[in-house]
């Protein structure tokens, strides 16, 4: 009799353990989705700042139309992207276009001194930070999920929990790619 109880208890513990592994995987997947949604929220926030910024710069530098065009196009691309890869590459393009816009602004002292521009610039800077931290959090979560999928024991439950490895959010920014200078 006691033998049967011991065996049953052993299996009960095993089942509870299996459930916890399954739940861990599902939890990780949900965190990744949430983290990605947070990136999109922050990108939307940045996107909403752009029309205002473009108008302000136009007021002082109307003839730099090529730069404006680039920003507007990049913004449109960013708004329509949905998968991780396309959102990330559109994000990179927009970041670059905005950098171009701010570089143009450097040549117009009146613009640089205007209160409106300064507050927009400040807002844009904090939003860039937020996007950056949201990306970092997303990538941390992807890292946790991806390593759970390939490591034992969670590995055995990945199929059952219907979770698969996710894509890292990598921004294609030529400035980041530059090899760091090494001096001896």
């Amino acid at each position: 009799m006691t033998k049967i109880i011991v065996v049953l208890a052993f299996f009960a513990v095993l089942v509870v353990y299996a459930f916890s592994l399954y739940n861990k995987l599902v939890g990780l997947k949900v965190s990744v989705d949430e983290a990605f949604a947070q990136i999109e929220v922050q990108l939307k926030r940045r996107s909403d700042l752009i029309p205002n910024l473009v108008e302000t710069v136009k007021g002082y530098a109307a003839h730099e139309s090529a730069t404006f065009e680039k920003v507007v196009q990049a913004r449109a691309a960013a708004t329509s992207a949905s998968s991780v890869g396309s959102v990330a590459s559109a994000d990179g393009m927009l970041t670059q276009a905005l950098r171009g816009l701010l570089a143009v602004a450097e040549n117009y002292p009146d613009l640089k001194a205007s209160a409106n521009f300064l507050s927009l610039q400040e807002e844009l800077a904090t939003t860039e930070n937020r996007v950056g931290f949201a990306r970092q959090y997303y990538n941390d979560n992807v890292r946790a999920l991806n390593s759970a999928i390939v490591t034992i024991p969670t590995k055995f439950f990945a199929g059952m929990a219907k979770v698969s490895a996710r894509e890292f959010y990598e921004v294609d920014d030529p400035q980041d790619r530059k090899a760091p200078k090494v001096s001896f």
């Binding site: 904090t126 937020r130 931290f133 959090y137 979560n141």
Partner: protein, 300 residues
């Protein structure tokens, strides 16, 4: 170069080790009590534990309100300090935590703390002094350190440590009192199976245990501070900001006015006079040591 992840792991492991030590110590005290007084005292153990639970967990559940009251912190709104809120929001994005309540303590001494029983009840507070002297990166490091305490559930960890230390203190206090009043009873009850060495050892345990519990409690608190520094770097990926902030705190000699032993452990820099007490009772590792750990993460 030291990685923040390995630093986090090491500190978590050491906390577990210390908490196990705390558990072993309580067991030792209970054992010593039984040896010294015999089986009749067994009832005192649950009594002491129950009393400690009752006194500590009340304050755990109202940690946010209690600490705010003791430090004089006032909750502020986003419109009161939009820049500080923007920084806190950045750090909630980096940590995945919900937005905490933000409070300010009107005090020139630069310092900050976090409290609240869980992430949903978290409050992070800053003195007006720290908001004045720190630049963006430094303040970001400080906010990350405070949110790290929230993420690591340090209010819970310190409540567990305080409960055990409290139970041990109550227990040995009760037993030592019993010794004065009812020492004679022991002889008639359990003289047959007690040898003098065991009795002497038990007595030593009962007298030294509260002290050992305090040392363990302080060691746990120091571990959690070091862990919060490592977790802060996990959030900001910028050890330089927090390192510069700690250097600024080290350079500053003013201390918070409304300081008390009860809440000393929650501040980012200990507000107590550190020169008079031994390092072993400190709730915080020395600033120099924390700065060195961050420098190691910077790889310089």
């Amino acid at each position: 170069m030291v990685n923040f992840r390995s630093a986090q792991q090491a500190n978590r492991r050491k906390t577990v080790f210390l908490l196990v030590g705390m558990g072993a110590l309580s067991w030792l005290v209970a054992f010593a009590a039984l040896t010294y007084f015999g089986g009749t005292t067994a009832a005192i153990v649950p009594l002491a534990v129950g009393f400690a639970l009752f006194s500590v967990w009340g304050s755990y559940y109202s940690a946010d309100k209690l600490v705010m009251l003791m430090t004089g912190a006032k909750i502020i709104e986003e419109s009161d300090n939009p820049k500080l809120f923007a920084l806190v929001q950045e750090m909630t994005l980096a940590s995945g935590l919900p937005m905490p309540k933000v409070a300010v303590v009107a005090d020139k001494a630069p310092n900050a703390f976090a409290t609240g029983r869980n992430a949903d009840h978290a409050v992070i507070a800053f003195t007006t002094g720290i908001l004045d002297i720190m630049d963006r990166d430094e303040l970001q490091g400080v906010i990350a350190h405070e949110l790290a305490h929230v993420a690591n559930r340090d209010t819970l960890v310190s409540a567990v440590a305080a409960t055990t230390a409290g139970a041990i203190a109550i227990l040995s206090d009760m037993l030592i009192r019993m010794m004065w009043f009812g020492g004679g009873k022991r002889d008639s009850n359990s003289n047959s199976n007690s040898n003098p060495i065991a009795l002497a050892l038990s007595l030593a345990v009962l007298i030294l245990a509260p002290l050992a519990a305090l040392l363990l409690k302080a060691a746990i608190s120091r571990r959690r501070e070091a862990l919060a520094d490592a977790t802060a770097v996990d959030f900001t990926r910028n050890p330089t900001g927090l390192r510069r902030a700690l250097e600024a705190l080290a350079a500053d000699t003013t201390v918070v006015k409304r300081r008390s032993n009860a809440v000393a452990h929650i501040w980012i820099e200990s507000p107590l006079d550190t020169s008079s007490t031994s390092k072993l009772f400190e709730t915080h590792p020395p600033l120099a040591q924390r700065i060195a750990a961050l420098r190691a993460m910077e790889g310089i």
